[in-house]
Symmetry: C2
Amino acid sequence: MHIEMICTGEEVLSGQIVDTNAAWVAQRLLDTGLEFHSRITVGDRMDDLVAAFSNRAGRADVVLVNGGLGPTIDDLSSEAMAIAMGAELVLHQGWLKTMTDWFEKNGRVMPDSNIKQAMLPAGAVMIDNPVGTACGFRVLWQGTWFVFTPGVPSELKKMVDDEILPWLVRDFSITSPSQLYRLLTTGRGESALAEQLGQVALPDGVDLGYRASLPYIEIKLMRRGEISEERWLKLIDDIRVALGDSWLGDNVYNVAEACHQLLLEQGKTVVTAESCTGGMVASNLVDIAGSSAYLLGGWVTYSNQAKQQELGVGANTLAEYGAVSMQVAVEMAQGALQKLDSDIAISITGIAGPDGGTEDKPVGTVAFALAHRGGYVAQILRVGTKRHGRDGIRKLSATVALDMIRRHLRDEPLLADYGFFKRIDSNQG
Amino acid sequence: MHIEMICTGEEVLSGQIVDTNAAWVAQRLLDTGLEFHSRITVGDRMDDLVAAFSNRAGRADVVLVNGGLGPTIDDLSSEAMAIAMGAELVLHQGWLKTMTDWFEKNGRVMPDSNIKQAMLPAGAVMIDNPVGTACGFRVLWQGTWFVFTPGVPSELKKMVDDEILPWLVRDFSITSPSQLYRLLTTGRGESALAEQLGQVALPDGVDLGYRASLPYIEIKLMRRGEISEERWLKLIDDIRVALGDSWLGDNVYNVAEACHQLLLEQGKTVVTAESCTGGMVASNLVDIAGSSAYLLGGWVTYSNQAKQQELGVGANTLAEYGAVSMQVAVEMAQGALQKLDSDIAISITGIAGPDGGTEDKPVGTVAFALAHRGGYVAQILRVGTKRHGRDGIRKLSATVALDMIRRHLRDEPLLADYGFFKRIDSNQG
């Protein structure tokens, strides 16, 4: 099935906003077994829109159009389609009523500018939008179904999930994967991962894809139904084994999410003691609703004064080993653990750059320690170089720190072999 | 000048990665006075690439192509262009030597797969890439200049800035803006801002644009040179005044950056005491190299236990007013201020949602306090609703918190009228 996308809007074409809608729709379609053939992005000019629609008519089975359905003067998608088709715009009474009712319910009068949102090209099928005033619609022209969707991400997503994907699957007899399984990894690049996974036989009926978003690469398995449950589960197992220490979790979007589930299950508490990550680790946990069940608190001991005063790090330790050392990391973690009587404490102290590096400890040198009621594990790694940038090094460090917590909760060795990150030293007590 | 872009790569088309290159190039061109007419995104199939190139030849003055210049089997841009043109691929000796030398210098032998990166369509002009093995190139076909650029963002950016933009400006006599001025805002949407700015007369020779990236909207002024310095400065002033309390700073990308400069200038120190923002505020400051000059430390007092134990918040205060209250925010800030003897302390305690809201204090209710050596200012706002999501409410809260610091440093009223955010109550002491 030949499906294309047309993204409209000056703000998208000119890069004022990054086109996350296009990426989301493409991924969603891929999950359903559909691949976009191509994508065109145009601005808000009537000529360009009419030309784009006319150009693709008869060349694709489906063209998904995004944007231009609002009530303002820049919103031209309906009208452009009518012009391209040589059709009239017809008032959709049902949608007009839906909009008027909604305004009334909110104690307002519908502005006249919204009326155009109920004007659809003759012959169009209205697509419901329960969370906005821009209804979608689809219309068949020259053998091509043009499907119009709103630009607001939340409205687009709901319409695609609730209305458009089911219609596509049904009317075009798409064999969607009956199951989608995601494995999250870090520490190795796509080619290295592909090499590792090369050893695993991929049976017919399963497709494999990669999605990269620093610091992770997500591996997607799409099951198309022709394999047994037993074979499917074995495949997932084999892949997990092949991924080795790069594997972070199944069907989670980040390592904090992986920790979240384990922390809730085990009823354990956690505190954070951060220096260069500056609050990022705590923030990643607070990102997840329900983290108050286990996150007692955290420190950002950015200065040596704060490390000593707040977490009891020894002046001698700092003087002898330096702020970026396993010894200081251990004292930070133990200090945090004791202060709030937590089950687990994680500490990070490193050099995010671009300044601060020395020959002995270049930018990207980061020390970690996980302390718990029974002892501690510490390590000092090169998580990156200047090339990764300050933000990159902090993100990678936060990932390692959270992975140490994850491994501790799973009773696995905390010192992993990631590939990217070089261990300089380690310690336990 | 009619310029278009062709983005290549399965990972971009399928949404595995979001196309940030396209947005960056478009914005960079806009800054130079050039607007893209349209953008096409295709995958890695030879047919599609050849068709895309053939399709646009003769229709545009310049087509900028991104991606497909690597050494792997999926990298087809050079070959596809040669096929489209009906030309031979010719070995560029100079580039081959550059690559071989680079590998040698790094103690390696160049793999044969890299040789294709020196094979350019006959007639192409090589474009240098000092930070990668993929040289760019431009070639004229049917009156259209096709310009090929690498997909790696850092390499693309350097090539565009150092080679391609200067060539475009020169060869196509582009009148670039002689100056670009950016004003950062928060708290009002684009239409509200446009209304406020409607009162300001925009002289000929100046273009105005908006760039939205939650929680900010950036206003871009592009000076095209035909106005006096005096008129230009007055315009900037008028706009700043018209923006009112939405204005955060000039030529900064976020409010933390605005604070950074002021903190360095004034030699003041700061500490953070966060609950719902969970470390985000501290992290925003640590984002900026050099923040160790003023950030002494921070707390993430996520539990009431941590608030009392670490910052000395009174059990009575918590019992009487609740964790999300100005009173608790004030005690958090004062506790933090005293512990590390800081000049400034900022605290945030609120309900990020989706759970935790009550009729009295719904999701999005957030209390802030800024304490300094001379007193404090506190406020409790509705920064958003459930609709903004947990992440959105935390980001908006962090923005308000940092803006309080910024205003304090500028000796301006801390209680601003943003538009979006509704103040419920305020207090000072």
